[in-house]
């Protein structure tokens, strides 16, 4: 009864080929098949944003996309963007401002923040709050996250 399909995709710059069950979510594929456990599973119904990854340049919910839909795609995760240095400035500000506590939302939050910076070089504080409003954080109350993104934008510190 299980449908399996062959897929080939690029994950963090590495070409990957696997046979996957059709029902497997992209984030489960990344975590369970590739061992990329930095993208977290928070709700599995597309609300919390913990599983946010980048597919062909757009951020998506890893729990709302099937792995087979990523066939032929370029997928980027927190691990890849950390190693490439693309997130370095944001990570530095997040660290300095303590814009994370438990850290479970943080990979998704960083993906969302970087997406904003790529779209809009000078977002306002309100635009920052709006752009990350699809990423749930129970620990911080968001202010430090907004501060960290704002300081990255303005190159403070």
């Amino acid at each position: 009864m299980e449908h399996a399909l062959d897929i080939a995709l690029t994950v963090n710059g590495v070409e990957v080929s696997r046979r996957v069950q059709a029902r497997v979510h992209l984030v489960d594929f990344l975590r369970d098949e590739l061992g990329l456990t930095g993208s977290h599973i928070g709700c599995e119904h597309g609300v919390c944003g913990a599983c946010t990854v980048r597919v062909n340049g757009d951020i998506v919910r890893g729990c709302l996309m099937l792995a087979v839909q990523a066939n032929g795609c370029k997928v980027e995760t927190i691990e890849g963007l950390s190693d490439s240095g693309e997130l370095a400035a944001l990570q530095k500000r997040f660290h300095e401002k303590n814009a994370l506590q438990c850290g479970f939302c943080t990979p998704g939050m960083l993906m969302a923040a970087q997406d904003l910076l790529l779209q809009n070089q000078k977002p306002t504080r309100e635009q920052i709050r709006e752009h990350i409003s699809g990423n749930y954080c129970r620990c911080t109350g968001y202010q430090a996250i907004v501060d960290a993104i704002e300081e990255t934008v303005h190159g403070k510190g």
Partner: protein, 795 residues
């Protein structure tokens, strides 16, 4: 008073606070920023089996028959278990405490035996090679049920027309009445009496990481290693040991990264106990991670109180008495081992807390219902006690036509009145209500905000300003749980080892879930020993490694665990100087440790660095005197004992703008002035407050677990259960007054729950202040647009 002066050097030397009071970033945040943390679901084990639970679809039903034949044949399935089978390996528990007199609860099993008492209670477990295979098989379990009558409403429960547990006689889990005497007389002679009934919605913690456990039983050793998303590893070690019949020393509990806890992950959960038992039965590692839907059904819920409160005052504005009656519902079981009587008990203890009235009566009924269980969640009881107190205080001020800030100033316990015994019997060491109020007024520019509010009202813009003064339980002594018979440690320990390279390894029984425990312990240890912060490595969350202790709850990590680190650090510094004095042939009293070196205390001249000292002590002890042994690992413990709790105080303010057409509340700004004693890391303290405030805002405006009359949870998912998101949240301004506790040398009190304790009351008062000119008032949290429009008689 300035910052706490910490004599971190030996007496007689120059006082140096070292890193205490500095906003240093958390060293352990780096891995989390790169997605390289280690949460339970990130761990990889050979032969790992996965559990999924078949949960009751009914709020109350007898299990007539469970058929596993189809489930067991499903691909990948290893085993299917019912309650009686798991009960052979895991003893049931009864959550009562001796000091909560009369508290009662029935035995609870890891998997329901005979009947289910709430929708979502686990009644069978499927174990498979993958979680998805286990979930597939859960769908194939065939159950035959006999529906039983349900008790959903707490007022109905109190009437006891239907008794959920007939063996217990009635539905009252716990009741208490506290009376100073003279309350009726005070009300009789009062010029002003105000009365209100407040309702507090049932809500839950919504940790972003679901509850998670990976149990790995070794049949050869009869030992169990549990990777557990928990706040209290030693408590869980004791519980796994006693309920699974494995010697305590053969149970190891490891808490790696934990994705949010807030009190949710400090309780014993039946499905987690079942997972550990299944690992024993199957003799292999077994994992359970609660998905979001089962988190809503089975993570503890909290609050759900109906409180009637009256306040008596003179026309001059002096509060004479409080009279309070709290009814709260906890689900079908008191939660093990802390019990579900504590939140209501706290409401009785804390109502009226900041004020100097002498007459008080508090009545409490804690009742069973057929909904998910409730228990201690961040700020336990405080949000209820603060909101009902501050709500009725505002009502009294309104009736007396006094400014709410001035009314509070008149009635707050004066800063020079300590030590002070409150009418509920609690003792306060030293609080600073008036100083925090003054600081708040200045910080928020209260007078000009009031002016602005008045001007905007004439333009039909409805802004509200709400205040909430508070007291909070922190650094609990054994009086909280231990005296009641719970095996929950009130003491914590720290071990510090000087490594041969001159670095420090610090092992603490307090755990880290992102609060910054490890960062502040590094600050304390580095300062106490005299080393650089970057030469300090902290290890927490492993019962096989750290000293024994309580873990993280009740705002105790900094005050209790931090004091143990400080004392261990000082002792290690002394031992280091013993070694240096032998190596250098120099009087110990003339030496000190500064910046990773042993120096001449008076001149500061460097004598020997700690790496060289370590080399000699560990690899060339033959060069030291024959009668001397270096002791470069030191352990110290600390228990607060002089007071039952080390109370803190603070005050919050909320500024909101209300849209009378839509009922929407816009949060414009929030302030919190807190006195948590010595502030070890101001940035982390502020972030604890901000995060806590936002959880309190969630309770005030958005969050509620809604149940149907049949006991079905109606909004148990993240789309329907609203949590605070960034776009709606205000900026939060924090400030501190520092009154160090004199019970410890560190002087730190707790700060983690202050935000959640005060925010709901402050927001409620702000909303009602905005509604006042429209002749409306709300008293049932959360204050949804619908409830506000109803109060305005627009719907």
């Amino acid at each position: 008073m300035g910052k706490a002066e910490l004599p971190l050097h030996a007496p007689g030397t120059q006082v140096d606070k070292g890193y205490i009071g500095q906003s240093v970033p958390r060293p352990n945040a780096a891995r989390l920023l790169q997605g390289r943390g280690a949460f339970i679901d990130d761990l990889r084990f050979a032969r790992l089996a996965h559990v999924a639970f078949f949960r009751s679809p009914y709020a109350h039903a007898r299990i007539k028959n469970l058929q596993f034949a189809k489930a067991i044949k499903s691909p990948g399935v290893l085993a299917v278990f019912d309650g009686p089978t798991v009960a052979e390996y895991c003893k049931p528990w009864v959550a009562v405490l001796a000091h909560l007199k009369g508290i009662k609860s029935p035995p609870q099993h890891a998997i329901a035996v005979e009947r289910a008492c709430w929708q979502g209670e686990a009644v069978a477990a499927v174990v498979a090679e993958s979680r998805s295979q286990a979930e597939d098989a859960v769908q194939l379990i065939e159950a035959e049920w006999e529906e039983l009558p349900v008790v959903v409403d707490m007022e109905d429960s109190l009437k006891n027309k239907i008794t959920i547990h007939p063996d217990l006689g009635d539905n009252v889990c716990f009741k208490r009445e506290h009376d100073t005497g003279g309350v009726d007389e005070a009300f009789a002679k009062a010029d002003v009496v105000v009365e209100e009934t407040f309702h507090f919605g049932r809500h839950t913690g919504v940790c972003l990481e679901g509850r998670a456990i990976l149990a790995d039983y070794n049949a050869a050793e009869h030992s169990l290693t549990v990777y557990h998303a928990t706040q209290a590893p030693h408590m869980m070690q004791d519980i796994f040991s006693r309920h699974l019949g494995i010697p305590e020393a053969s149970v190891r509990v490891i808490a790696k990264d934990v994705g949010g806890s807030f009190g949710i992950k400090v309780h014993v959960y039946p499905d987690e106990m079942a997972t550990a038992a299944i690992s024993v039965i199957l003799r292999r590692p077994v994992k359970f991670v609660a998905d979001r839907l089962e988190s809503f059904l089975s993570d503890i819920h909290a609050r759900e109180h109906r409180v009637k409160v009256r306040l008596a005052a003179t026309k001059a504005g002096e509060i004479l008495a409080f009279d309070m009656d709290d009814l709260t519902a906890i689900g079908p079981y008191s939660v093990y081992p802390r019990t579900s009587g504590i939140e209501g008990n706290q409401v009785v203890n804390l109502t009226g807390g900041p004020y100097k009235h002498q007459k008080y009566r508090g009545k409490l009924n804690v009742v069973f219902t057929n909904k998910n269980v409730t228990c201690q969640y961040r700020a336990v009881g405080h949000p209820i006690a603060v909101a009902l107190t501050e709500g009725i205080v505002d009502l009294a001020a309104q009736k007396l036509n006094m400014d709410p800030a001035e009314f509070r100033r008149k009635n707050l316990i004066p800063d020079d009145a300590y030590p002070y015994t409150f009418p509920s019997g609690l003792k306060f060491e030293k609080l600073s209500h008036l100083r925090t109020l003054d600081r708040l007024m200045e910080l928020m520019n209260y007078k000009s905000l009031r002016e602005e509010q008045k001007n905007l009202r004439s333009r039909k813009i409805y802004r509200g300003i709400g205040l909430a003064a508070m007291i909070e339980v922190t650094n609990p002594s054994p009086a909280f749980y231990g005296v009641g018979g719970a095996r929950i440690s009130a003491q914590d320990g720290a071990t510090i080892r000087l490594e041969p390279t001159g670095m420090l390894t610090v092992m603490s029984s307090v755990t880290e879930q992102g609060q910054g425990t490890e960062a502040i312990f590094a600050q304390i240890a580095a300062s106490a020993v005299g080393v650089s912060l970057n030469k300090t490595k902290i290890i927490t969350g492993d019962t096989a490694v750290t000293p024994y202790g309580g873990g993280t709850w009740a705002s105790r990590g900094a005050g209790i665990g931090g004091e143990a680190v400080l004392q261990a650090g000082r002792a290690l510094r002394s031992n280091i100087l013993d070694v240096a004095s032998r190596i250098l042939n120099f009087e110990k009293a003339e030496l000190d440790v500064r910046e990773d070196c042993v120096v001449n205390r008076l001149t500061g001249e460097k004598k020997i660095d700690l790496a060289e000292l370590g080399r000699v002590a560990y690899f060339r002890p033959d060069t030291l005197p024959l009668d001397f042994q270096a002791e470069l690992t030191v352990t110290r413990h600390y228990t607060p004992r002089q007071y039952g709790f080390t109370f803190t105080n603070g005050i919050q303010a909320s500024l909101v703008e209300l849209d009378p057409d839509t009922g929407f509340v816009k949060l414009l700004k929030h302030w919190c002035v807190e006195d948590s004693g010595t502030v070890i890391n101001p940035m982390l303290a502020d972030e604890q407050i901000r995060g806590g405030v936002v959880q309190g805002i969630g309770a005030a405006l958005y969050e509620e677990c809604l149940y149907s009359p049949e006991g079905q949870l109606l909004n148990g998912n993240m789309a329907d259960y609203l949590v605070p998101m960034s776009a709606e949240m205000p900026d939060i301004v924090c400030a501190h007054v520092e009154t160090p506790t004199k019970q410890s040398q560190l002087g730190a009190k707790g700060v983690g729950e202050a935000g959640t304790a005060g925010a709901p009351g402050a927001v409620m008062n702000a909303v009602n202040d905005a509604l006042a000119p429209l002749g409306a008032r709300v008293t049932a949290m959360p204050f949804t647009p619908e409830r506000i429009l109803k109060a305005l008689r627009k719907v």
